[in-house]
């Protein structure tokens, strides 16, 4: 703790060190968030119109908006699927590239690459893959599932979104898991080997329990990312076919900027925030209880 005796100097340092960040943070997050809560009490048609006070009516409408809840349901399914598969694949890859085979650094580098592409371009690239490339591949090798137009089918379009998300984020989670695996003390693994544990037993009984802190981080990141997903949804399927893959974020953006329904859009965004807060809060609470000491 460093404390200046002179109160003026002290205030000066506080302002110099924390002022710019606090100001930017307040202006970007706190003020808009507070103002956003206030805006939900009004009915507005676009930025230029005069707001009309309606009380809690926007929230009542949000609760009755079946399209919104349908998009929330799609979001929940997407969250479930991506959190499970991204973490399983990410961990499996991390486990394999730390097994000590030759060329593991090459694989780490290559498998991280999809992370460099942003959601929008990612969606466009995979549109090309699903629409043009895979059907040609399917015809040639007679693979029935690849011959279909994935993005035109309600079920397959949803899984296309899941696959692209796994493809993009598994490599990032892999890196976090590698850091976790390298932090597992070597001596306890050696001790269990001497005691006769095979590779599978070592993984289940030693490595995995020690990896809980990594899983807390990766599940938090995948959970948060999946709830807020917009770019991939917008670029790959545009919410189609027939709105079947439209997720909550995309629904809110559409409501606000295509239909200019700012009040209802903002109220639904706040509901989305509440869902994310509850889900991540529960996740961190329960996974913290699983942590073990080495």
């Amino acid at each position: 703790m460093i404390a200046e005796k002179n109160p003026v100097k002290r205030l000066g340092n506080q302002l110099f060190f924390t002022g710019p960040t606090f100001f930017a943070f307040i202006m970007t997050l706190l003020v808009p968030f507070g103002y956003g809560l206030y805006l939900t009490l009004f009915e507005m048609a676009g930025v230029q119109s005069t707001p009309v006070f309606v009380g809690l009516e926007n929230y009542v409408m949000a609760l009755q908006d079946t399209e919104f809840w349908a998009s929330m349901w799609v979001t929940l399914k997407y969250v479930g699927a991506t959190v499970i598969f991204v973490n399983i694949l990410g961990f499996a890859l991390a486990y394999l590239v730390t097994a000590g085979v030759k060329g593991q650094n090459f694989f780490r580098t290559a498998l991280f690459t999809p992370n460099l592409i942003g959601g929008l371009v990612l969606g466009y690239i995979w549109q090309f893959v699903f629409v043009t490339s895979l059907p040609v591949f399917g015809e040639r090798f007679d693979i029935e599932i690849l011959k279909l137009g994935w993005l035109g089918d309600e079920v397959l379009a949803f899984w296309a979104l899941v696959i692209v998300t796994i493809w993009q984020s598994a490599g990032y989670m892999m890196i976090i898991f590698i850091a976790g695996i390298m932090n597992v003390p070597k001596d306890i693994i050696e001790a269990s080997t001497i005691d006769g544990a095979n590779a599978w037993q070592r993984l289940i009984n030693m490595t995995l329990p020690m990896m809980v802190p990594s899983f807390v981080v990766t599940i938090f990141l995948t959970l948060k990312g999946a709830f807020m997903v917009y770019d991939i949804n917008y670029a790959l399927t545009q919410g189609g076919p027939y709105g079947s893959t439209k997720m909550a974020s995309m629904h809110v953006v559409g409501l606000a900027f295509d239909q200019s329904n700012f009040g209802l859009g903002q109220a639904e965004a706040i509901v989305l925030f509440a869902v994310v807060a509850i889900a991540t809060g529960l996740q961190v609470y329960f996974s913290k209880r699983l942590e073990v000491e080495a």
Partner: protein
């Protein structure tokens, strides 16, 4: 090596090579199809191009106004990341060294704010900075950079905070006794020690800001100020399914980041790993 170990290694390689193919084939598709015309692409997206004609490439670069778009994106990303690193590092340092009720509470709020979806902030941001202050019309680029500093502050301060805690206080006290003031102490002693952390934060922020679409699409309207993802969106809308133009454009959009990654890959993987340990 025992036969069993040999078998395990073959299985590991089989899985890794399969993953490698799945994780990289879209890049392969982008590269080979960049040199083909529509007919060739439709016939076989997986074949190598018959000719490597760069003319088409330069045509697309010109059509998407690559030089301007690249410069805009680079400037916005560079300035935002630089300011995030400088400001957040200073803030984290102060919060670690001067814990007060106000500072601790503010830090807790910043950490908690990371779960607020952007969708809950975008409408008020447009209201405040568009309708009220008019900054979206008068100073969109500065506004955008300022917003990135605000959005990036929580995560960067959080990561810096964790590392600064592990720096011995004695080092700073020694510098203070030797006559440095706090600002000098931070920039000459502490900040250089944080370099690995700064690299980690910089990488993650560059990937986010470079590729970000929704925020800049709400703030930037001037044709000359567009960033790469927005330009790509415009391009995609104009040349719907015209893959001979879209594919080179997509390749050009991701190429700068891809090249930077290939040059600094060792550093980057290590950086991301270091960020994960905290």
């Amino acid at each position: 090596m025992s036969l069993r170990k040999y078998g395990t290694n073959i299985l590991i390689y089989a899985f890794l090579i399969l993953s490698f193919v799945v994780f990289t084939f879209p890049f392969f598709l982008l590269i080979v199809n960049s040199f083909k015309d529509n007919g060739e692409i439709m016939r076989d997206p997986f074949s190598l191009p018959q000719t490597y004609d760069l003319d088409q490439f330069f045509g697309v670069i010109k059509a998407m106004d690559f030089a301007t778009t690249f410069t805009n994106t680079f400037f916005i990303t560079f300035m935002s990341v630089l300011l995030i690193l400088v400001f957040s590092g200073m803030t984290a340092h102060y919060l670690v060294r001067n814990s007060s009720l106000f500072n601790n509470t503010f830090f807790a709020i910043m950490v908690a704010s990371m779960i607020i979806p952007f969708q809950a902030l975008m409408i008020p941001i447009i209201y405040i900075y568009g309708a009220k202050f008019g900054l979206i019309d008068t100073a969109p680029i500065s506004l955008l950079i300022g917003l990135y500093v605000g959005f990036g502050a929580s995560f960067a301060t959080f990561v810096y905070h964790g590392f600064i805690k592990s720096i011995p206080l004695e080092l700073e006290e020694a510098a203070l006794i030797d006559g440095c003031n706090r600002i000098q102490t931070y920039f000459r002693i502490v900040f250089p020690m944080l370099t690995p952390t700064s690299v980690t934060i910089a990488i993650l922020n560059v990937l986010w800001i470079w590729n970000d679409y929704l925020l800049p699409s709400l703030i930037i309207y001037n044709e000359d100020d567009l960033t790469m993802p927005i330009k790509m969106k415009v391009f995609n809308g104009t040349y719907m399914d015209n893959w001979e133009l879209l594919i080179p454009a997509m390749l050009m959009t991701i190429l700068p980041i891809l090249v930077a990654y290939l040059i600094g890959q060792k550093f980057i993987i290590k950086g991301v790993m270091q960020g994960a340990i905290k």
